[in-house]
C-alpha cells in the first residue's frame, strides 16, 4: 500500500515537474519576445535625450515647418517623446517576468537569493544596450538615487521589521552593526592602503582617505538577500534577527561614514586635517545617527496622530503614511542628519498605531504598495548595475580586486568573531561557533555599495573606474558564489551536529523535547526582559494609546466575537468526538497488541516522512522576505476552522447523527494547508492515508 503511495508520489512529481517545465517554457517565450521588443526599441530610436525631462516635439509630422513634404501624415512615430519612461517601464516589466519565472520553478528560491536573478536581468539589459550601441545609457545620478530610489527600500525594511525580536536583541544588534561597520570600513581601508603602497601594483596614487572611503562603501552589506535561504534551513530566531538588524542599521551607518569621508576629501589637502577634525567627525557621526532616530520618532507620532481622524477619508490613509515617512527622510536630509535612520524609526514608531487606526483596505494597500515600490527601486538599481557591467567604464587591476575580495572576507570574519566573543559575555543566549560562521559567511554585498561607488564625484576620484570594477567584482562574487553556497553550508553545519533520525520513535521523542524546551523557555521568560517591556506597555496603554488610537469600532468587534465563538465550538466538538472514539477502541486494544507484525522498511520510511513533514512547527517563525508578503496565519486558521465545522455539520445532517465524528475514517479535511512550507503542501496533496490506516489495522487484527 505504501508502495502504491510511493508510485503515486513519483508520478505526481513527474507530472508537476513537466507542468513546471511547460510553464517555464511559456515564460521563456514571453521573455524572449519582450527582449526582442526592447532590443528593437533600442535600435530604432532616432533622437537621444540625455536628461530625464520629456521634451516636447510636434506630433503632426512634417505638415508644419518642413519644406520637404507637405502631405498630412496618417501614421507617425515619435519615440523620443516617450523614450525614458518607456525604457524604465520595460526594465521593470522584464524584471517582474524574471521573478515570476524564478518562483515558478519552486526549487530555485531555496537555492539562491533573488538578487541573483535581478543581477542577471540587469546584465542582460546592459548587454542589449551595449550591443545595440545605444548612445545614451541610462544615467543614475546622486539626487535620483538618494531622493527617489533609496527611500522606498529603507521604508519597506523599517515597516516590516519584526519589532519584538528586534528590541529584545537590540543591544547585540546595535553593538554588532555599529562596531562591525566601523571595524570593517577601517580595516579594509587601511589594509588596502597598505597594499597600495606597494609599487608593483601601480596603485600608489590612491591615498589614505580614498582607501578609507572605499572601505566604507564596500562594507555595506545586504544580507537580507540570504535570509530566504536561511529560512529553509530553519536557522534560529536570534541569528535571523542579528542579520536582519544588521542590514537595517548598516545602510544608515555606511551612508553616514561615506558622507563624512567625502567631506574630509573635499577639504582638499591632506595636511589640513588635524585631530580636531577627526574628533569633529566622530561627534558628527553620533549627532547624525541619534538625530535621525529622534526625527523619525517625532514624525512617527505626528503621523499616527493624524490617522486617528481619517475614518471618513480612508482613501488618504496610505498617503499619510508614505508622505510622512518621506517627509521625515527629506527633513533629516536637509539638516544633513541621517535620513535613513529617520525614516526607519518613523516607520517603526508609526506602524503600531497606524495599524490600529486605518481601515482594513488601507492596511492592505499600504503593505502591498510598499513592497511594490521597494521592489521597483531595487530592480532599477540592479539594472543600472547591469548596464555598468557591460560597458566601457572599467579598469581592471588584478591586485586591487583580489585583495579587496580577500580583505572583505577576512575582515568580516575577524569582526564577527571578535565582536561576538565580547557580546556573548553579556547575552543570556550566546551565539555558537556555528552561528558565527554563518553570520560571517552571509556578508553579501548588494545594491547599496554599488550605488555609493557609482555616485563618487569623478573630479575627486580620478580612478573611479577602478573602484567601480572592484565593487562589481565583489558583488558578483558574493551574490553568486556565496549566495548559492550558503544554503548547502547551513544544511551541512546542521546535519553534522544532530544525530540522524533512524526511527519513528526518535523523531517523536526529539520533537517532543523541542516543544518541551520551548515551553519551559516560555515559562522561564527568557525571551524578553519582562520588566522593561511591561513598563513600556503600561506607559503605552495609559498615555500613548489614548492619544494616538481611535475609539474602538463596534463593527469589527462583532466579527471577532463571531470568530471566537466558532473557534470555541469547534474545539468543543473536537474534544467530545475524541472521547467518543476512544472507548470502542480500548476494548480491542489487547487483542490488537497480540498480533504483531514487523513493518517493512518502506512502510516505516513513509510513516516517518509523514511525521517529519507534518509535525507542528515549534514556534511561530519570524519571517521576512523583501520580495513577498507573509501569509496571514491567524486568518487562515479561523477560515480553516469554519470550513471544518461546516463540513462536519453537513456530515451530521446526512447521517442524522448529533455527533458528526463517529466514523472518523471517512472524515476528510478539505482544507488549505497551514504554514508556509511548500514541501508539506505538495507531499500532503499526493499522499493519502486512510487506506493505509485501515490496512494496518487489518493486519494487526489478522483478518
Amino acid at each position: 500500500m505504501c508502495y502504491i503511495c510511493n508510485k503515486i508520489v513519483a508520478a505526481a512529481d513527474m507530472g508537476s515537474a513537466t507542468l513546471a517545465h511547460a510553464k517555464l517554457l511559456n515564460w521563456l517565450l514571453l521573455l524572449s519576445s519582450l527582449v526582442c521588443c526592447s532590443a528593437a526599441a533600442y535600435v530604432d530610436e532616432p533622437n537621444l535625450s540625455n536628461s530625464f525631462l520629456p521634451h516636447y516635439e510636434p506630433h503632426q509630422g512634417g505638415a508644419v515647418g518642413s519644406s520637404q513634404d507637405t502631405r498630412l501624415h496618417v501614421f507617425t512615430v515619435d519615440y523620443g517623446y516617450v523614450q525614458i519612461p518607456y525604457e524604465v517601464t520595460l526594465w521593470i516589466l522584464l524584471a517582474s517576468l524574471a521573478k515570476i519565472g524564478f518562483h515558478l520553478y519552486h526549487r530555485l528560491p531555496r537555492l539562491m537569493p533573488e538578487s541573483c536573478i535581478l543581477i542577471v536581468i540587469g546584465a542582460l539589459v546592459g548587454a542589449i544596450i551595449f550591443v545595440s550601441d545605444h548612445k545614451s545609457p541610462p544615467v543614475m545620478n546622486s539626487s535620483i538615487y538618494f531622493l527617489y530610489l533609496l527611500p522606498p527600500i529603507i521604508l519597506e525594511e523599517g515597516y516590516f521589521m519584526p519589532t519584538r525580536p528586534f528590541f529584545e536583541n537590540f543591544g547585540s544588534i546595535l553593538w554588532w552593526s555599529l562596531l562591525g561597520s566601523l571595524l570593517n570600513s577601517f580595516g579594509i581601508g587601511l589594509s588596502l592602503y597598505g597594499i597600495c603602497q606597494i609599487e608593483a601594483f601601480g596603485l600608489t596614487d590612491l591615498d589614505l582617505l580614498q582607501n578609507l572611503l572605499f572601505g566604507s562603501m564596500i562594507s555595506a552589506v545586504d544580507p537580507v538577500a540570504a535570509l530566504v535561504v536561511f529560512e529553509e534551513a530553519s536557522v534560529n530566531e536570534q541569528l535571523y534577527m542579528m542579520i536582519f538588524g544588521e542590514s537595517l542599521l548598516n545602510d544608515g551607518i555606511t551612508v553616514v561614514l561615506y558622507n563624512i569621508f567625502i567631506a574630509f576629501i573635499q577639504m582638499h589637502r591632506y595636511e589640513e586635517i588635524e585631530s580636531i577634525d577627526v574628533f569633529a567627525g566622530f561627534a558628527r557621526f553620533f549627532v547624525v545617527g541619534l538625530g535621525g532616530v529622534f526625527f523619525g520618532i517625532v514624525f512617527g507620532f505626528v503621523s499616527a496622530f493624524m490617522t486617528r481622524f481619517t475614518h471618513n477619508v480612508s482613501t488618504i490613509e496610505p498617503l499619510l503614511v508614505f508622505m510622512f515617512s518621506y517627509l521625515a527622510y527629506l527633513s533629516a536630509e536637509t539638516l544633513y542628519i541621517s535620513g535613513i535612520l529617520a525614516m526607519t524609526s518613523c516607520a517603526v514608531t508609526m506602524k503600531k498605531y497606524v495599524e490600529e487606526n486605518v481601515s482594513q483596505n488601507s492596511y492592505t494597500t499600504i503593505k502591498y504598495f510598499m513592497k511594490m515600490l521597494s521592489s521597483v527601486s531595487e530592480t532599477l538599481i540592479f539594472v543600472f548595475m547591469g548596464v555598468s557591467t557591460v560597458g566601457k567604464n572599467h579598469e581592471w587591476n588584478w591586485a586591487f580586486i583580489c585583495f579587496t575580495l580577500l580583505f572583505c572576507l577576512i575582515w568580516r570574519t575577524l569582526s564577527v568573531f571578535a565582536l561576538f566573543y565580547i557580546s556573548n559575555k553579556f547575552r543570556t543566549y550566546p551565539f555558537t561557533f556555528k552561528d558565527q560562521l554563518i553570520i560571517s559567511y552571509s556578508g553579501l554585498r548588494g545594491a547599496s555599495s554599488f550605488s555609493l561607488v557609482f555616485l563618487l564625484p569623478v573630479n575627486l576620484f580620478p580612478r573611479k573606474k577602478l573602484f567601480i570594477t572592484a565593487t562589481l567584482a565583489v558583488i558578483y562574487f558574493t551574490v553568486f558564489i556565496q549566495g548559492v553556497t550558503i544554503g548547502p553550508l547551513v544544511k551541512y553545519l546542521d546535519v553534522k551536529k544532530t544525530n540522524k533520525k533512524e526511527s519513528i520513535n526518535e523523531e517523536i521523542h526529539v520533537r517532543l523535547m523541542d516543544h518541551l524546551k520551548a515551553g519551559i523557555e516560555d515559562i522561564c521568560g527568557h525571551w524578553s526582559h519582562y520588566q522593561l517591556r511591561d513598563k513600556f506597555k503600561k506607559i503605552d496603554n495609559k498615555y500613548l494609546k489614548k492619544i494616538l488610537i481611535r475609539e474602538h469600532q463596534p463593527k469589527s468587534s462583532i466579527v471577532s466575537l463571531y470568530k471566537k465563538m466558532e473557534i470555541k465550538l469547534a474545539i468543543e466538538m473536537a474534544e467530545s468526538s475524541m472521547k467518543l472514539s476512544e472507548t470502542p477502541t480500548a476494548s480491542s486494544q489487547n487483542s490488537r497488541n497480540r498480533h504483531v507484525r514487523r513493518l517493512s522498511p518502506a512502510e516505516m520510511k513513509s510513516l516517518r516522512d509523514v511525521l517529519a513533514h507534518n509535525l507542528y512547527q515549534v514556534r511561530q517563525r519570524v519571517s521576512y522576505n523583501r520580495h513577498n508578503l507573509p501569509t496571514n496565519t491567524s486568518e487562515k486558521q479561523a477560515q480553516e476552522i469554519l470550513i471544518r465545522r461546516q463540513h462536519s455539520l453537513r456530515q451530521s445532517y446526512r447521517k442524522g447523527n448529533s455527533l458528526p465524528w463517529v466514523n472518523t475514517t471517512e472524515v476528510r479535511y478539505l482544507s488549505l494547508p497551514q504554514g508556509p512550507s511548500q514541501r508539506t503542501r505538495q507531499k500532503a496533496r499526493h499522499v493519502t492515508f486512510t487506506g493505509n490506516g485501515h490496512a494496518l489495522l487489518c493486519i494487526l487484527l489478522q483478518q
Binding site: N505, T665, F689
Partner: protein
C-alpha cells in the same frame, strides 16, 4: 541586580539542593513572583497568562508536569493543586545544563533524571508503563497543529512506533506474546542513541555574570 549582598541561608540551601547558583535562583524567583502575581503558590490557571505557550501543542502536558508529584520528588502519587517556589525550582532543575566538572556517575544520574521526567510526561496514568493508548495520545497532540492529517494517520504512526519499540526492547516476539507497554528501562534503551544532555536544557540558565543586555 547586585550580587554583593549577603546570601540568606535558605537561598544557600536551595542552591545546594537544586544545583543552581544564587543569581539563577534570584532570576527564577522574580519570574515566579510574576507568574503567581505575588502569591506564594502557583496554580494551573497561572500558566494561562503566558501568551507564547498558547501555540505549544503539548501545552497541557507541560503544565501537568509541573504539578506531577512524581516530578516533585514527593513520595506520594497524583497531582498537586499548587506548587511553591521550591517545587518550581525542583522542576526547573531538570533543565539545568551539564557542567564541566561532573564525573561519570553524576552524569549518569543526571541523564536518568531527565529521562525520568520525560517518561512521566508520556505516562499519564502513572502506572510506570507507556501503553499504546498513551503513546497515541502523545502523537496526536504533537500532530494536532496540522489540519490535513487525519486521526487515523496519527494512530498508525503511533502503532508503528510502538511496534518498533517492541522490536528494539524485546526482540523477536512469539505469536502469543503481548507487549504491555514501554517500561522505564525500555525507554532508556530507546534513548541510547540520542544524547539527551545536550538537548534537554534551557540555555539561558547558563548565566554566569549578571545579565543586563540579553
Amino acid at each position: 541586580m547586585g550580587s554583593a549582598h549577603s546570601v540568606p541561608a535558605e537561598m544557600r540551601e536551595l542552591a545546594d539542593r537544586t544545583g543552581f547558583t544564587s543569581e539563577q535562583i534570584e532570576h527564577l524567583h522574580r519570574r515566579f513572583k510574576q507568574l503567581s502575581q505575588d502569591q506564594l503558590t502557583i496554580r494551573k490557571e497561572n500558566f494561562d497568562n503566558i501568551p507564547d505557550l498558547e501555540f505549544n501543542p503539548i501545552r497541557g502536558k507541560i503544565v501537568h508536569a509541573f504539578f506531577d508529584k512524581r516530578n516533585l520528588r514527593q513520595e506520594s502519587d497524583g497531582l498537586a493543586d499548587e506548587i511553591n517556589f521550591e517545587d518550581f525550582l525542583t522542576i526547573m532543575s531538570y533543565f539545568r545544563p551539564i557542567e564541566m566538572n561532573m564525573d561519570e556517575e553524576q552524569l549518569d544520574r543526571f541523564r536518568k533524571e531527565k529521562l525520568k521526567f520525560l517518561f512521566h510526561m508520556y505516562d499519564s496514568d502513572h502506572d510506570g508503563k507507556i501503553t499504546l493508548q498513551e503513546y497515541r495520545n502523545v502523537v496526536e497532540e504533537l500532530l494536532s497543529g496540522n489540519p490535513h492529517l487525519e486521526k487515523e494517520s496519527a494512530r498508525s504512526i503511533a502503532d508503528g512506533a510502538m511496534m518498533e519499540a517492541a522490536s528494539i526492547c524485546v526482540g523477536q516476539m512469539g505469536p502469543d506474546q503481548v507487549y504491555e507497554g514501554i517500561t522505564f528501562d525500555d525507554f532508556l534503551k530507546m534513548w541510547q542513541g540520542i544524547d539527551i544532555e545536550t538537548k534537554m536544557h534551557v540555555r539561558f540558565l547558563n548565566v554566569d555574570t549578571i545579565a543586563h543586555c540579553y
